[in-house]
């Protein structure tokens, strides 16, 4: 960045410019008047806030994971890797790992592929695309408890889905969807896909809208259909963007599932719908085994990190 101002009049000169050698003016607030670093000090409150309330608790996870702490008011002792051993020996933990793996392996690809295709569709501006766009934002606007209410109304034993099945004579297919071990996890996955496609599609549509139109037209002249254009022409152009969106959805699905599980199935029946992030919640606030909870938290963090790196590698542009 360049500036025409001679150093000395502006506090934020180019790199290396000496800060103004003048004390705070009487009119200015003391900290805003401080010339050091061209007012960088103004960023300190935000940074402190962020470190204290976000980074601090994040670091605390690693400490608590090494403690034996059987409840808020119980005595705390150092446990080292003992919690890790307990967690790895616990069949519930492995069931949660399996559930999380299924959850991610189904929800994430379906969500991203469908959202990309819907996004491509909207970006072509077909008739009614404004209405579609308006509707696609809906899942991005409503809160998790409200989404859970929607699924509760649809899937509870006397809910919409069973009502619909009965009215077409398929009574034998009705089920207590959220309370059945074989479908509880599927319901949670359905919720993520239902809510995830809409908003992700809007993001893709917005990004596809900035891809030059000639690109698609050239492909069409060469005789490529929309299917080919969508995957072979447009996809490579926004590949890295798709990667970033996939990362965000990955993190959201991995960590956010706790809320849906808590609101809809409480992890049950048994532990058939317990995901890793719900296990963290459940062990901390229901079972009061804090060392266990935060050990899973650490593992979850590592899974998140590994997932991010993998996704980045997958979406790295081919050169």
């Amino acid at each position: 960045m360049t500036t025409l101002t001679p150093p000395g009049t502006a506090p934020a000169g180019p790199t290396g410019a000496p800060p103004r050698a003048r004390g705070p003016r009487p009119g200015a607030r003391p900290r805003t008047g401080a010339p050091a670093q061209g007012g960088t000090i103004l960023a300190v409150p935000a940074l402190v806030w962020y470190l204290v309330f976000m980074v601090g608790p994040m670091a605390a996870i690693f400490v608590i994971a090494a403690l034996h702490w059987p409840g808020m008011l119980q005595p705390v002792s150092f446990a080292g890797l003992e919690n890790l051993r307990t967690v790895l020996d616990d069949p519930v933990f492995w069931e949660a790992v399996r559930n999380t793996a299924v959850h991610l392996a189904v929800a994430l690809p379906v969500m991203i592929v469908c959202a990309y295709m819907v996004g491509y569709y909207v970006a072509q501006r077909p008739p009614g695309h404004r209405v579609i766009r308006y509707l696609l934002f809906i899942p991005g606007l409503i809160s998790t408890p409200a989404k859970a209410m929607v699924f509760y109304a649809a899937l509870s034993p006397d809910g919409l889905l069973n009502g619909a099945l009965e009215s077409v004579g398929l009574t034998s297919l009705t089920d207590a969807w959220l309370a059945s071990p074989s479908t509880a996890l599927a319901c949670l996955i359905a919720l993520d896909i239902w809510a995830g496609i809409g908003f992700t599609a809007v993001l893709f549509a917005a990004r596809l809208g900035s891809v030059p139109g000639e690109l698609g037209e050239a492909a069409q002249l060469d005789g490529a259909g929309h299917w080919r254009t969508m995957w072979r022409v447009h996809f490579p152009v926004i590949r890295d963007y798709v990667g970033v969106v996939t990362m965000l959805q990955f993190l959201w699905t991995l960590f956010g599932s706790a809320q849906h599980v808590l609101l809809l199935t409480q992890g049950g029946p048994g532990s058939s719908s317990t995901t890793l992030s719900f296990l963290v919640y459940q062990k901390a606030f229901i079972a009061a085994d804090l060392g266990y909870s935060q050990t899973v938290g650490v593992l979850l963090f590592l899974v998140g990190l590994a997932g991010l790196l993998t996704i980045r590698r997958v979406f790295r542009p081919h050169h």
Binding site: A10, P11, R29, Q37, A43, V118, P126, A146, G163
Partner: protein
Amino acid sequence: MKLGKGWIPAHLLVWGYAVLLIVPLYYFLASAFKSNEEIFAHPFAPPTSLGFDNFVTAFTSAQLGLAVVNSLLVTGLALVLTLALAVPAAFALARSTSRLASAMEKVFSLGFLIPTFAALFPTFLLAAVTGLFHSRTFMVVFLPATAMPLSVVILVQFMRTIPREMEEAARMDGASTFAVLRHIYTPMCLPGIATVLLLNFLTFWNEYLYSLVIIGPDPAQRTVQVALPTLKAITGTDYGVLTAGTVLTLVPVWVVYTVLQRRMQQALVSGAVKM
């Protein structure tokens, strides 16, 4: 590009999905004005009368009125605090070219990779230690921290577009740093501030897990998102009341979305990916 016959399946699939999005909302809106019997007999029929009985029940049984006030308070104060922290920070980072400033900016943009829920329990401890446990106050203080990375990064991008000559001219007239922020940067990046406000309004209003754990069940303190699921336990399966309560929590978001549709859409799109 021309959309030929080959697009019919695409039209059907996309509109089918759109129907899946709109039907639950319609169902909720319609059911909020119906009794349980009507809901089960004709789930998708429009309500026959526009009685507000369900809303009244939802209001009284889960004390939703109080919860709405709490949510408005928490959301409003947290937004003010977010701006108070993020605007000066973005101002400093956008203008400074020092190495320290760019390191700070890095720290904020890495913040996108910290999922908010990860540190639920340690945050809960922090609330207990500071003595702000079981109160709205902690949420007012805490929520801006979660919003800091996104808010700062968005505002920095807006402020970088402001020509430096504007500031230099003001400096000639003897304006202080604070005056530059107040009279040049703030008015000129109002669209950025609006984006930050809209995005954070949504996240703060919709926040659930932290509010549940930290504010707890006290009806005098809890927010509407915490109060809403309790309706299920209180009313059993009175769908009329349940849906009326849900509709109530959606009203503020809906009003804002409808009034500021274009701006809100832009805000959501720009806020989702800033890495």
